[in-house]
């Protein structure tokens, strides 16, 4: 219960920071919508189901990367991470709170982006939307973990995509499969497995990421 309260306080703080600064969500929204507009005008009309699904995942992945790159900026600016690390709460609560806040931003961007995608390309099936939701969890769990690793390095803007994109390949496979395959069940199952596996790994090892 105390753990849940800590996570809630940390996630609420991130939402409040975004509400004040407004420097992550508007950028994500602008990026994802612009990407669809560019794809719409640069590609032939009526792309195949597989190609359209691929476009969706390229846009989602890079939009998420934009949000993940900003995730630990407030902590970096004033070295607030030191203050959080010293607090007697379980350090994994910092990761979980940040992941929840990042997930909220990504979902908010997708609430706008998915209808735009449907308008420009093709309507999304229920399985595709479920695939996006499951992928979001994995993206935020892994991305937040790597974001915390990258924030302490000098070349953090380079490190995050270099670490994140290879680990996101299974998400793309599961996501494209859930939207384009005739039987999306096993792709959705694959995404659930990915989420569970990486959430547990990140939760258990976050302590070592923030310890000096």
């Amino acid at each position: 219960m105390t753990y849940a309260r800590d996570v809630g306080a940390l996630a609420r703080k991130d939402l409040l920071l975004e509400l004040r600064a407004r420097d992550t969500l508007p950028a994500m929204l602008l990026f994802v919508v612009s990407t669809f507009v560019v794809f719409h005008f640069s590609l032939p009309a009526h792309p195949s189901r597989l190609a359209a699904s691929g476009l969706l995942w390229v846009a989602i992945l890079f939009t998420a990367l934009l949000g993940l790159g900003r995730a630990f900026v407030p902590e970096r600016e004033q070295r607030v991470l030191d203050g959080l690390v010293l607090a007697p709460c379980d350090r994994s609560a910092i990761w979980l709170g940040k992941s929840i806040a990042t997930l909220a931003f990504l979902v908010a961007a997708e609430v706008v982006a998915l209808p735009v995608y449907a308008l420009f390309f093709r309507p999304l099936s229920g399985a595709a939307v479920l695939g996006v939701a499951l992928a979001d969890v994995g993206i935020c769990a892994v991305g937040t973990f790597l974001g915390a690793m990258a924030v302490t390095t000098r070349a953090r803007e380079l490190i995050l995509p270099l670490l994140f994109l290879p680990l996101a390949i299974p998400i793309v496979i599961g996501g494209v499969g859930s939207g384009a395959a005739d039987s999306p069940g096993r792709y959705l199952g694959f995404l659930v497995l990915y989420d569970l596996l990486f959430a547990v790994v990140c939760w258990a090892s976050f302590e070592y990421v923030v310890a000096e």
């Binding site: 105390t2 703080k13 030191d82 690390v85």
Partner: protein, 195 residues
């Protein structure tokens, strides 16, 4: 109590601390001095539990929850108000009667009237006062203060003098400073780090 033997720290090839021995009993007041780059901040980070030594060992009877650490940076969010920052830390440190304690500290350090303002709008001295409030919020048993007088004006420095005098003997204190004369009358031990 804080005991360190042969403490050293390296960052890759660079050695920033070497062969430090110190012993600070409960209620003691240690003043750490030294030139820029002598490793004061690194030593204080190790003593606060934020960094691990690469050589030697350190024993501390205060748990994480009982350590108050004042760093060069205020460790507060610039886009939040003083009240919101202290509320967050108060929750994470499980401070009993949190609101009363926060109110008392803000009042004492002259930030009550600006408690709803964003920290980004504070002067450097006001931010340092807030950092002191954050450090003292959970009434820590071990206080590790890295150049606490930085940026404080005369009234702020006088407040801190009074606070340190009040805490002396009741809490274990470790203070790094470039002005050891300021806390000389309070100190029970002094450690000078060589550059």
């Amino acid at each position: 109590m804080l005991v360190a033997r042969g403490l050293g720290k390296r960052y890759g090839e660079k050695r920033v601390l070497r062969g430090i021995d110190l012993e600070l009993s409960r209620g003691g007041f240690l003043v750490v001095t030294g030139a820029n780059g002598s490793g004061k901040t690194t030593l204080l980070r190790i003593c606060a539990g934020l960094a691990q030594p690469t050589e030697g060992r350190i024993e501390r009877d205060a748990e994480r929850a009982q350590v108050g650490y004042l760093a060069h940076e205020p460790l507060v969010y610039r886009e939040l108000s003083a009240l919101e920052n202290l509320e967050l830390y108060g929750r994470l440190y499980r401070v009993p009667e949190r609101r009363e304690r926060i109110g008392m500290l803000l009042e004492r350090y002259g930030l009550w009237d600006v408690r709803h303002d964003r920290v980004a709008d504070y002067s450097r001295g006001m931010t340092q006062r807030l950092a002191l409030c954050r450090t003292l919020l959970h009434d820590p048993a071990l206080l590790v203060l890295d150049e606490p007088f930085t940026a404080l004006d005369e009234s702020g420095a006088a407040l801190l003098d009074a606070q340190l005098a009040e805490l002396r003997g009741e809490r274990t204190l470790m203070v790094s400073t470039h002005d050891p004369g300021r806390v000389a009358s309070l100190a029970t031990a002094r450690l000078e780090l060589a550059a």
